[in-house]
């Protein structure tokens, strides 16, 4: 079984290195096929591992020692348990599909080989992240996905910077740097968590740490929990570190599907799920996580309501769904969070890939106000995106219905009505903005003709490649019970109370109702075409939402610009004017004194003699005084 583990882990790395060999040569289809093939192998190995874990329990392997210093020993240790197996299958499934899809999508791109190298490297990092059996290994993956995301967001690095009024993300390279730096802020928190664990437990191994939890001080556990959660916030783009995710949409769309929807951004959720014994021990932090998740859910959904950028809408919806996951995890329903994570990965990747199709068809035009009526030319994509949006909105019997509904049930069960209500409203908003986007893109008048676009459907193999995701988005919900049984071998099981069971049907109905009404409202407003409401668009709330609550502007003005100014000031004023001038001043002092006393060297011997006399007097005075004192 260890071999399967290594195959699953290293196949993407091999693919990445293979593609890297061709990195500087023109497009070569073989890189696409080899990486996809290797990922398929990795997927196969993951599925086999899942089956093995299902019957035999955890598989673990210790490859070699990585860092050993003092009492610290960190191994490249891997363990595949139920959580990891699920994550592995989700990651490899989505990434295999995305790889195959990208062969079609990146067809005309100069950096074709490079793209596959990066993409496979990302999968490798993600696999390390989920498979590691210790926090240091997790951190390797954590940073690794960060770098790959940096590379991939900035994939079209040659685009120049433009003003925020033209493109809110300025440029791909800017967005990439923003994502990396934001993630690094959170990583610092994670590092602190790791240090705390090491100095109090003596090991970074998950199991050792979890076993030691009962013996640790509550305050300490709270700090560890907060520090780790800060790490999770960065990677999963939770408020206030959320701005990078929308800007990350500058990357190629398959990247958005894989990294910024299905896998990397869920790493934070994975961490919270993984550290469930810790968060169970500190309910205060856990409930904070739940509230924060809930807040992010509605906060992101509100921004999605008015956005005109196809990918950004989906990005906000990702953010919002991540909020759902954190809410579930924070409330203690870890398996529900994991289930929603998996379901979300499938339909959100599908949604993004559909958006990719549209983008491809529209020649990289992303403004949904300039689309419309595309269903005639892009029937397959319409179907996929419709399905994915239904799943996202949580309509029976699609995957999103089961997962989202269970989260709402959990909120009821925990008597946290504020969370329930907020998430309930968010469900309605989700349905509305998803279908606003679908209808604006595919129905109504054909506004694309105004900008002279000639949309066309993607090649068939691309659509076929997307089929697995579509199927999973439809049927995944029915696997909820087996999934529950499987993952609760590791995770704490979560049982609804009897009362909740009784009234569950009522909540299911009202949740479905609000989702349906959201869809209906979107249909009424947008299905027949776009009617722009100038008054609404100039209202304060609308502008607030389109400008993302002015948070990016705030960050820019309060952090980025002052940082630059303080840096300049420190350099020009402090370092050059104070520190260096002091040093030079000391040198000048000696130099000037030397220069002044140089005039003593008049060349006139009798002056010298006079000085000699002075010197003699001084020395003798000194001698006399010294002998008197001594």
């Amino acid at each position: 079984m260890e071999n399967l583990l290594y195959i699953a882990l290293f196949a993407p790395l091999v693919g990445s290195l293979f593609a890297a060999l061709f990195g500087m040569t023109p497009k070569n289809l073989i890189t696409g096929f080899v990486t996809s093939g290797l990922l398929f192998i990795s997927w196969l190995a993951s599925v086999l591992l899942l089956i093995h874990v299902l019957s035999h329990g955890t598989v673990s392997a210790n490859m070699m020692e990585w860092i050993g210093a003092g009492d610290l020993t960190i191994d490249f240790g891997f363990a595949v348990d139920a959580i990891t197996a699920v994550m592995m299958v989700v990651v490899t499934t989505v990434s295999t599909v995305v790889h195959i899809y990208s062969i079609g999508y990146m067809d005309h791109d100069k950096g074709f080989n490079r793209f596959f190298s990066y993409l496979s490297a990302f999968v490798f990092s993600m696999m390390i992240l989920v498979m590691s059996d210790n926090f240091a290994g997790l951190f390797i993956g954590w940073e690794g996905v960060g770098v790959c995301s940096w590379l991939l967001i900035g994939f079209w690095y040659h685009k120049a910077d433009v003003g925020t009024d033209v493109n809110p993300s300025i440029s791909p390279s800017w967005a990439a740097n923003e994502a990396f730096i934001m993630n690094r802020i959170a990583d610092l928190g994670m590092l602190v968590g790791i240090f705390l664990i090491y100095w109090n437990v003596g090991s970074l191994n998950y199991n050792v740490f979890f076993d030691a939890i009962p013996s640790l001080d509550n305050g300490l556990l709270t700090s560890i929990g907060i520090a780790l959660f800060i790490g999770a916030m960065g990677k999963s783009a939770q408020f206030p570190l959320h701005t990078w995710l929308a800007d990350a949409m500058e990357g190629p769309t398959p990247v958005s599907a894989l990294i910024h929807a299905a896998t990397m951004v869920t790493a934070g959720v994975y961490l919270v799920i993984r550290a469930n014994p810790l968060y169970d021990a500190i309910p205060n932090v856990a409930i904070f996580i739940a509230y924060l998740g809930t807040f992010v859910a509605i906060f992101a959904a509100s921004m999605a309501l008015v956005n005109r950028d196809l990918k950004r809408i989906i990005a906000y919806s990702t953010l919002s769904q991540l909020g759902y996951m954190f809410a579930a995890a924070g409330l203690g329903a870890y398996w529900v969070a994991l289930f929603h994570l998996a379901a979300h990965a499938f339909f959100k990747a599908l949604l993004f890939l559909g958006a990719g199709n549209v983008m491809h068809a529209m020649h990289d035009e992303l403004d949904i106000f300039k689309m419309g009526g595309l269903k005639k030319v892009m029937g397959g994509t319409y179907l996929y995106m419709g399905l994915a949006s239904l799943a996202l909105a949580g309509i029976f019997p699609l995957a999103g219905f089961f997962s989202k509904d269970t989260i709402l049930e959990v909120a009821i069960n925990e008597d946290t009505y504020i969370i329930w209500f907020t998430l309930w409203v968010t469900a309605g908003l989700t349905a509305f903005y998803s279908f606003r986007q679908v209808f604006l893109t595919f129905s109504g008048n054909e506004r694309y003709k105004e900008i002279g676009a000639h949309p066309h459907e993607m090649p068939t193999f691309v659509l076929v490649a997307m089929a697995p995701l579509a199927i999973l988005a439809v049927i995944f919900g029915f696997f909820m019970e087996p999934f529950n049984e499987f993952v609760t071998t590791i995770l704490p099981s979560y049982e609804m109370s009897h009362e909740t069971h009784h009234i569950a049907w009522f909540f299911i109905i009202i949740t479905t109702l609000i989702a349906l009404s959201g869809i209906f409202y979107a249909y009424k407003k947008y299905a027949s075409g776009l009617i722009r409401d100038k008054e609404l668009e100039s209202s304060f709330v609308y502008r607030l939402l389109t400008n993302q609550y002015y948070i990016p502007a705030l960050y820019n003005n309060v952090i980025a610009k002052p940082y630059k100014e303080i840096s300049d000031m420190l350099w020009n004023k402090v370092d050059m004017k104070i520190v260096d001038t002091t040093v030079d001043g000391i040198a000048h002092f000696f130099f000037n004194n030397g220069d002044r006393t140089r005039r003593m060297q008049s060349g006139n011997l009798s002056h010298y003699l006079n000085w000699m006399g002075f010197g003699a007097v001084a020395l003798m005075l000194f001698a006399v005084i010294a002998s008197m004192i001594g």
């Binding site: 006079n610 006399g613 002075f614 003699a616 007097v617 003798m620 005075l621 001698a623 006399v624 002998s627």
Partner: protein, 187 residues
């Protein structure tokens, strides 16, 4: 008797040396210097250093002063020396302070009485004693001094005797390099 002699000698030496230092005529200065030397030898006799006194007379008055007088033939000794004296108060003040300090430093160990005689010679007259010590303990310094005198003599001859005929002040500018010894004026 000794006291009277000492005070006479002291007053005379001080007076003569003052003349040496303050006079603007070289001849006066030199003459008074020579006279001062003679009287100093008297002081030496007073403290019982007979041999030293004789050497003082022979070397200083006999040799050195003769050397000076010969040397002065090369210079124009008859006219007064014109000197710009700036700030002579400072000079006197410095000189006085140094004198005071020398006295303090020299007399401090004497007053403290922590000096011990190491080469104590008794039962011999002064010249004999001097000879005994000079050719035993101080033999090597004595020989070195002899060599030094030899070297000095040769040096003196070469320096003074070099191109005795031509006056360097009237030499051609062209040949200056050979003989300037690096003493070149800034132009």
């Amino acid at each position: 008797m000794e006291q009277i002699a000492f005070y006479i000698f002291s007053v005379l030496t001080i007076g003569l040396f003052l003349v040496t230092v303050l006079s603007s005529n070289v001849l006066y200065a030199m003459t008074s210097l020579a006279a001062g030397m003679v009287i100093i030898s008297g002081l030496f006799f007073l403290v019982g250093a007979d041999f030293l006194g004789v050497v003082q007379l022979v070397v200083y008055v006999g040799a050195i002063m003769a050397l000076y007088s010969f040397g002065m033939m090369f210079f124009d000794a008859t006219k007064d020396i014109k000197e710009k004296n700036t700030n002579s108060y400072l000079v006197f003040a410095l000189g006085g302070m140094i004198a005071v300090m020398f006295v303090v430093i020299f007399s401090a160990p004497v007053i403290g009485e922590n000096i011990q005689a190491t080469y104590f010679v008794t039962g011999a007259t002064n010249p004999q004693a001097v000879g005994l010590i000079l050719f035993t303990k101080y033999l090597i310094p004595f020989e070195v001094a002899a060599i030094m005198l030899l070297v000095a003599m040769i040096a003196g001859i070469i320096l003074a005797g070099k191109k005795m005929d031509d006056s360097l002040t009237t030499r051609d500018e062209n040949h200056e390099e050979d003989t300037t010894f690096g003493l070149k004026d800034e132009k």
